[in-house]
């Protein structure tokens, strides 16, 4: 067990960070699964209206940290989170914070597309219905169509909105899941390896989509593909064995990594 109080250093404050508002501030975050110390003293500032990529070998804690930003770890037995994660200056682990409202602001897209066994329309309408966002039926239709358009799926499905969402191809399903997440107007979108179950063409479409919508959201993407991180993100964080090793501008990270471990990883020496 690592008991040393060593904190991840954020000294090299990324250039891009300076130019933007900070959306998420995490300080001294620890995550435990029972006895396992999965995230160790992690501190990070994540900017708004940009894509931040989390990379690192399997089991390094990047998905764990991602899931603590919308408190999805709450659903796992024996999972404990300490430290502060602030979204817009408000601690999301405060006792009086309503996790339902938090998750309406922090959307999530999963590794494997998981559309509900409902129609395409109902999949996207799910969030707005739950949160009572739409005032009328036409309002709801506008939200659904708008979200599908933003997820660049509308043209492909406009004639069959009443067909089951599970009948779409893998890439379309994942874009449907993105549309579903967008439909409740989140500020942050977490993506947990959104392309790992997709073929290269479908992956490219998702990447394009991320690029199109990044102006409006704070997007965090966990990925195993360094090329993908390089293509879609402005900032990259490298995780290793529960530590945040390095966080900086994507361009710098892949050309002049500061840490030996980062260099080894991105040049393929381990992981």
């Amino acid at each position: 067990m690592d008991a040393s109080p060593q904190k991840s250093t954020l000294s090299n404050s990324p250039r891009i960070l300076a130019a933007r508002d900070t959306k998420i501030v995490a300080s001294d975050v620890n995550v435990y699964y029972g006895e396992k110390h999965a995230i160790k003293h992690l501190s990070i500032d994540i900017p708004d209206r940009a894509v931040s990529a989390f990379i690192g070998p399997s089991g390094c804690g990047k998905s764990t940290f991602l899931r603590s930003i919308n408190r999805m770890n709450d659903t796992i037995d024996g999972c404990r989170v300490t430290g502060d994660i602030l979204v817009d200056g408000k601690n999301i682990y405060d006792r009086d914070l309503d996790v339902v409202q938090l998750r309406a602001r922090v959307g999530m897209v999963f590794q494997k597309p998981n559309p509900f066994p409902k129609s395409i329309f109902e999949n996207v309408a799910y969030g707005p219905r739950i949160h009572g966002i739409a005032k009328s039926k036409t309002d709801l239709e506008e939200i659904v169509v708008g979200s599908l358009k933003k997820a660049s799926l509308f043209e492909e499905v406009k004639d069959r909105l009443d067909h089951p969402g599970t009948g779409l191809s893998g890439g379309q399903q994942q874009r449907l899941c993105i549309a579903r997440a967008i439909a409740v107007n989140p500020e942050i979108i977490l993506m947990d390896e959104p392309c790992s179950a997709l073929d290269p063409i479908a992956s490219a479409r998702i990447e394009e989509l991320i690029d199109e919508i990044r102006q409006n959201y704070c997007i965090i993407i966990v990925t195993h593909s360094m090329q993908q991180a390089a293509r879609v993100s402005q900032l990259t964080a490298f995780f290793h064995l529960g530590d945040l090793v390095e966080f900086g501008d994507t361009d710098d990270m892949f050309t002049t990594p500061q840490d030996k471990r980062t260099q080894d990883y991105i040049t393929g020496r381990f992981g």
Binding site: N70, M72, T75, R103, F110, Y126, R180, A181, V184
Partner: protein
């Protein structure tokens, strides 16, 4: 003679295996490097040939000459040995023993499923013929639409409607009890309870399913029925000492574990990724269950209900003891009613001559019951196909 025959068949099968294997092994040792099948397959094939030949010979002799005949073991020995000799010559380097043996296994599997199907067909036809004989004496119109049932009075009347109404009334009460109880406890076990709690609850519920229906029957007649009567009389209601309500309630308890256990399995089979997707949208646990988990599990839950209903319709013991024999045409749950199964049981108890309309009517009732559950199963199947929401 039978014991000898069986011994001979077993011995020949064993001999077949070893002879076949040895022959193939011999070929291999003699330098035929590329034997198509492994020696064991040659052995298995020869064993199955011997088994089949000796078995068929035995059956044939038993049918023609009876199982006491001396010919039986002789025929088995002769044909079994013949099969071994014949297949011994077949074994060569290129002989496809593996494929042949797998084909033989497939035939055995088909035969096994055939037994179940043929038995069902046989039962249907035997019931059908007796039913037709019954309809020779009583017109189908009178049977199906008559509202009076008294097979022992003179003149006897065979009106199905009171029995059908009684059956449906009791089944309806049972489902009314078991549906919510079973489904809600399944939801609790699958979604809310801790692993430990579920580990205790589920076996306990399944014990209830193991209680013999006779026991449930006298529980209904001796405990529940008087309770209902006393309570009802407290409110100034007229309650028969044997009431549909008592039988229905206890029958409901009988099918609770069926519904809860099946539904619990079905709800558990809904992938966790769907729940995660819903939670990540900010849905609460109950919203997730209502809007995602239950719709996804619905076809399975419907078929669990249909299975439970079939079970309730066919149940006899509880109704015999708790609902009575009076064929009243009544929708009143507090009155005594009777069901199709109860009438079949009472009609066929004791020595009966099998040509009277009274006895034959039991077959007609059985046929109606069969058609009823068949239609129910068909509906369930269609519902499942229509609303199956595919996940994964």
């Amino acid at each position: 003679m039978t014991a000898w025959t069986l011994l001979i068949i077993a011995a020949l099968t064993a001999i077949g295996f070893f002879v076949g294997q040895a022959r193939a092994q011999g070929l291999r040792n003699a330098g035929a490097a590329s034997l198509h099948s492994l020696p064991a397959y040659h052995g298995l094939l020869m064993a199955s040939m011997a088994l089949a030949a000796a078995g068929i010979a035995t059956l044939a002799v038993a049918l023609v000459a009876g199982s006491d005949s001396m010919i039986m073991p002789a025929a088995a020995a002769l044909l079994g040995t013949g099969a071994i000799a014949a297949s011994h010559r077949l074994i060569t380097r290129d002989f496809r023993a593996r494929n042949r043996f797998e084909h033989f296994v497939k035939l055995v599997l088909i035969a096994c499923s055939g037994v179940a199907v043929l038995t069902t067909i046989g039962i249907v036809f035997s019931v059908l013929f007796e039913t037709l004989a019954f309809f020779g004496e009583v017109s189908p119109i009178e049977f199906l639409f008559g509202t009076h049932w008294s097979p022992t009075s003179t003149p006897a009347s065979f009106g199905l409607i009171p029995l059908l109404v009684g059956t449906l009334l009791i089944t309806f009460i049972a489902v009314l009890v078991a549906g919510p109880l079973g489904l809600l406890s399944a939801i609790y076990m699958a979604e809310y309870s801790s692993k430990k709690m579920r580990g205790v609850l589920k076996p306990l519920l399944e014990i209830l399913a193991g209680v013999p229906t006779v026991v449930l029957g006298f529980f209904a007649a001796l405990t529940v029925a008087p309770l209902i009567r006393n309570t009802g009389e407290g409110f100034g209601l007229i309650v028969a000492s044997e009431s549909a309500l008592a039988a229905g309630l206890v029958m409901g308890m009988m099918i609770v574990p069926l519904i809860s256990s099946l539904s619990d399995d079905i709800i558990n089979a809904v992938p966790q990724s769907l729940r995660d997707g819903s939670y990540a949208m900010g849905a609460t646990k109950s919203e997730t269950i209502k809007r995602v988990v239950l719709p996804a599990a619905l076809p399975g839950i419907v078929s669990a209900f249909m299975l439970a209903i079939s079970r309730a319709i066919g149940e006899t013991m509880i109704v015999v003891m708790a609902a009575g024999l009076a064929a009243n045409l009544s929708f009143n749950p507090l009155a005594a009613v009777t069901t199709i199964t109860v009438q079949i049981a009472t009609l066929l108890v004791g020595d009966q001559e099998f040509d009277s309309a009274k006895t034959l009517s039991a077959f007609a009732l059985g046929f109606v019951l069969f058609c009823f559950t068949l239609v129910l199963n068909y509906i369930a199947l269609r519902i499942v196909q229509r609303y199956r929401e595919q996940y994964d």
